[in-house]
């Protein structure tokens, strides 16, 4: 059995077992979830250790089996430097959520099954090398997350979940239209990603290529989300349970950005170059607008949700800049793409941690409203410490992963298109808003909801701590990660320059 298939289907098998065996106690279900997530992570570590860069036009740990041969769609999986870091990040986030949920009392068995299902789906998406397989997992991630929000959310969860479902499903169908367009244009018709990247169908047809790219971009932009398709994100995050938000922001948003580098850039290079400036502008607007709206929030979770729009904006900016082809900028554009992938990993870890911390706020004091707290550092020093690390990581302090990512994004983007420097203002704004949040919640006299606030418990520390520790590790020792990403980023830039 291919190790990637094992990584994808192990959680699903465990989820089915949990559903089929209702007599398993809640305690067993919680522990089983942690165990399966840990085994999955261990398998990913094995893959990482044995991984060697496969080079242009091929994948490592490849497996292909017939699925619907009539339309040239197959079960085709494999990894390269773009997907491997995301698989690892996904495994880490789901393990963190499993550990965090060790204290869950609301239907823990079903919740564990649902998250294991989501883990399978997320892993499957990142290893998929066939458009229909990709779409299958893309859609199922929406279905799974709908039930997470509707079933375990709070406040107006039903409505937020519905909005999330409708909006992102709309995006997924736009994506499917684009995929069918690629399929029809390819000769012979195929859904295989490797073949399509090799063929670049629609090359030479600026109209057809533009329309298909537009469909794919809309689909991915809804999922990412970028301005103006981001309006589903804040309510979904605000009403989702903590681990749901962590997975949504940490993993599901990356499906959009991953699609840019995996599908749009290599398969439609000509259209991508033609529309690169539009993508760059959307990225810059997302960065600035996301940061400004985040600055205006009083609800901590909503604020983090908007900083996600801002952080995803950096990725969009970088991949857009990668399409502005000029002589002698290939290396700079590869740096931008490397930064984009690093940012996907970094944002997953940091925002996952921040949403879990937000979950602690709600669990202890029932509100995300920052003004209700004050002087929280006194009663909850561990919480304060992790929160501060998370905030600094998110605002891009050197020594943490966010800095590595954003530094590369700006280095690459500004070299390719100097005007992108205007997006630097986003970094200033996020710094301001996180510092203000820190000040408001933690400093001063202990008052309001901070009184009697219980500090982090062991399971919470072990869920959130490793995420931030990894961010720190990447910030201090980025080489192991960058060594994996860089060859793939160079290939991506080479492909988009064709």
């Amino acid at each position: 059995v291919n190790v990637l298939s094992l990584i994808v289907f192990l959680p699903l098998a465990a989820a089915l077992a949990l559903v089929a065996l209702p007599r398993l106690g809640d305690a067993t279900a919680r522990v089983a979830w942690v165990a399966v997530a840990a085994v999955d992570l261990a398998l990913v570590v094995v893959v990482w250790l044995r991984y060697e860069s496969p080079g242009s036009g091929s994948l490592a740990f490849e497996e292909q089996a017939e699925w619907i041969p009539g339309v040239n769609s197959s079960y085709h999986v494999g990894v390269d430097g773009l997907s491997l870091p995301l698989i690892a990040m996904t495994a880490v986030i789901f393990l963190a959520c499993a550990v965090y949920a060790l204290r869950e009392t609301d239907r823990p068995r079903v919740q564990a099954a649902l998250f294991l299902f989501l883990q399978s789906v997320s892993m499957g998406l990142f290893v998929a090398a066939d458009l229909i397989l990709f779409f299958l997992f893309f859609d199922l991630s929406i279905v799974g997350m709908y039930f997470v929000i509707a079933g375990w959310g709070h406040n107006d969860a039903g409505r937020s979940a519905l909005k999330f479902f409708l909006y992102t499903f709309l995006g997924s169908l736009a994506l499917l239209v684009g995929f069918i367009g690629l399929y029809i244009a390819a000769e012979p018709h195929t859904f295989d990603m490797v073949d399509l990247a090799d063929q670049t169908p629609l090359a030479g047809s600026s109209m057809g290529g533009g329309l298909v790219l537009a469909a794919i971009l809309v689909g991915l932009a809804v999922k990412t989300p970028t301005v103006p398709f981001h309006t589903w994100l804040p309510p979904a995050h605000t009403d989702a349970p903590a681990i749901g938000s962590a997975v949504l922001a940490g993993v599901l948003l990356k499906m959009g950005t991953y699609g840019f580098v995996r599908i749009a850039m290599p398969m439609l290079p000509e259209a991508w170059r033609a529309w690169a400036w539009v993508i760059v502008v959307v990225g810059i607007v997302s960065i600035v607008y996301g940061a400004l709206v985040a600055l205006a929030q009083t609800d901590f979770k909503r604020m983090v949700a908007y900083t996600s729009v801002n952080h995803m904006g950096y990725i969009v900016l970088a991949v857009g800049a990668a399409g502005i082809v000029a002589d002698g900028t290939a290396q700079a554009r590869a740096v931008a793409v490397t930064g984009a992938v690093t940012q996907m990993v970094s944002h997953g870890l940091i925002t996952g941690a921040l949403f879990l911390l937000a979950g602690v706020l709600r669990e202890r004091a029932g509100t995300y409203d920052m003004a209700s707290y004050g002087g929280l550092a006194g009663p909850a020093p561990r919480f304060a410490a992790l929160f501060a690390i998370g905030a600094f990581a998110s605002l891009g302090l050197p020594g943490l992963s966010g800095f590595i990512a954003e530094f590369q994004i700006f280095t690459g983007s500004i070299a390719a298109a100097p005007v992108t420097a205007v997006a630097l203002v986003g970094i200033l704004l996020t710094a301001a808003l996180f510092l203000r949040a820190l000040q408001q919640i933690f400093t001063g006299e202990t008052r309001g909801r901070s009184v009697g606030f219980g500090d982090l418990r062991r399971a919470e520390v072990w869920a959130i701590g490793p995420l931030l520790a990894l961010s720190l590790l990447i910030g201090v020792l980025p080489r192991p990660l960058l060594d994996v990403i860089e060859p793939a980023a160079e290939v991506a830039v080479e492909l988009v320059g064709r």
């Binding site: 009539g70 339309v71 409708l166 018709h189």
Partner: protein, 467 residues
């Protein structure tokens, strides 16, 4: 040209089975009417098995070329027979021991015979016979419960059926008049030289009749009323099985038309109208069966999409058959959930059902999301391939319309899913409809599982369908 009546063995089996069920049922005491059900089930299984054997080998025709026995007929036979078998399972809960039990089974088999004749018809006159044989038993089935709503539904269906039947016959007459033949094999050349206006009127008439049978615009008015007013098993039947025959018949007819009339546009317009109207009308329905009734109108729209490129894309026919198979299984799964809880006639009465009955809840989710076209259910593969076919045939815009409508349809399916997993507002347990009907519940789980399994195994289906 030869008679070769044995090629019609599945149809004969169903006809004989129906007659045996009818006559035998008259002599059976009320408590032993299940024997008639067993006879009907045996006839359906035998028809499906003989149809499967009939698919071995290449296409043939029977009765001087007026009835085609090819892959499309074979698939329609198997799917219609097994679909009716599933309906029998739903009927086991609902009408076991009721006064008109064996009559229901007999009518179901006779209507299915008509559906199969529609599917295989390669001659306009055979088409007309199939239409009547498939329609007349349905009138009886809809009203067999003798409820007020049933009476209204049967009246509406009957009047519309009479009107559209006349349109169909008129269309057949005109086409015969201008082409000088009713056999599909000679129709293409016969119509090529004929005046375009007359051909167009004739085609519209025949299509209108088929749209009544399929339950698509403009012949859709009876569908929501019948789905709501008839018994659960009958509602499941008439929104599922007749479509198989009608859509395959439409495909066959379109594939024989010459290029002088722009029939692809006509089909595309009907498809867009069906899917859009069905979706919009389903939006605010509160009765789950009525909601499903409108949803089936929109599904006819999707089913017509590959018909619009009949003969212009290699993908069209297998895609159509795949969608038909998937739709039959998935729609029956959704109806099975409603017959499992016959007293729950309000979306809100499903509140908390998913927690009390996890398997049924999951089946309903699979069925409804399947009807939306979520992977990995088989309807997704159907939708994917039909849109690919229509794009391949040069109508990319129709593919886009399909997906726009799919998004629109999601909303009303979610209106049903949301309460199923919603929290119960009052703490007191519901007083009625707590225990689901056993046969329906099992059928729902089975068909939902089948919908997933066929989606994952779609490669094999496709290979069979594209022979």
């Amino acid at each position: 040209m030869a008679m070769r009546p044995l090629l019609l063995l599945p149809e004969m089996l169903l006809l004989v089975g129906g007659l045996v069920a009818l006559l035998g049922g008259s002599f059976l005491p009320r408590a032993r009417q299940w024997v008639a059900r067993a006879v009907a089930a045996a006839a359906l299984v035998a028809a499906a098995v003989t149809a499967a054997f009939g698919m071995v080998g290449s296409g043939q025709t029977a009765f001087d070329g007026t009835f085609a026995v090819d892959t499309a007929t074979g698939v329609a036979r198997i799917v219609a027979a097994l679909g009716t078998l599933i309906v029998l399972a739903l009927a086991s809960d609902e009408i076991a021991g009721s006064p008109r039990e064996s009559e229901t089974y007999a009518l179901l088999l006779l209507a299915t015979t008509g559906v199969l004749i529609l599917a295989g018809a390669a001659d306009l006159l055979v088409l007309a016979v199939g239409f009547l044989l498939a329609s007349v038993p349905l009138y009886g089935l809809i009203g067999i419960d003798r409820t007020p709503r049933g009476a209204e539904a049967v009246m509406k269906t009957y009047l519309l059926g009479a009107l559209f039947g006349i349109l169909l016959l008129l269309g057949v007459t005109i086409l015969y008049g201008v082409a000088g033949t009713t056999a599909y094999g000679e129709l293409t050349s016969g119509l090529e030289a004929a005046p375009v206006g007359a051909v167009a009127v004739g085609v519209v008439g025949v299509l209108a009749g088929l749209m009544f049978k399929a339950g698509g615009v403009p012949g859709h008015f009876w569908v929501p009323d019948a789905a709501q007013g008839a018994g659960g098993a009958v509602a499941a039947y008439l929104t599922t099985v007749p479509k198989i025959g009608a859509v395959v018949a439409a495909y066959r007819l379109m594939a024989t038309l010459p290029g002088t009339v722009s029939w692809p546009l006509l089909i595309a317009v009907l498809a867009v109208a069906s899917m859009t109207l069905g979706n919009l009308a389903a939006y605010w329905q509160t009765d789950p069966r009525r909601l499903l009734g409108w949803s089936t109108v929109s599904q006819v729209g999707y089913l017509l999409v590959p018909v619009a490129v009949a003969g212009r894309s290699d993908l069209a026919l297998p895609a159509l058959l795949l969608y038909l198979t998937g739709y039959t299984v998935t729609n029956l799964a959704a109806f099975a959930v409603t017959t499992a809880f016959p007293d729950r006639r309000d979306l809100d009465s499903y509140r908390g059902m998913g927690r009390a009955r996890p398997w049924l809840g999951a089946s309903l989710v699979v069925a409804l999301l399947g009807l939306v076209g979520t992977p990995p259910t088989v309807v997704f593969v159907g939708k994917l391939t039909t849109t690919a076919a229509v794009w391949d045939g040069g109508h990319a815009w129709l593919a886009v319309v399909v997906f726009v409508n799919t998004v629109a349809s999601l909303f009303y399916y979610l209106r049903w899913i949301a309460p199923v997993y919603g929290r119960r507002e009052s703490a007191e347990p519901p007083t009625r409809g707590v225990t689901p009907a056993a046969w329906s519940a099992r059928t729902a789980v089975l068909t939902a599982a089948l919908s997933l399994a066929l989606g994952i195994g779609a490669g094999g289906l496709w290979a069979t369908f594209s022979v």
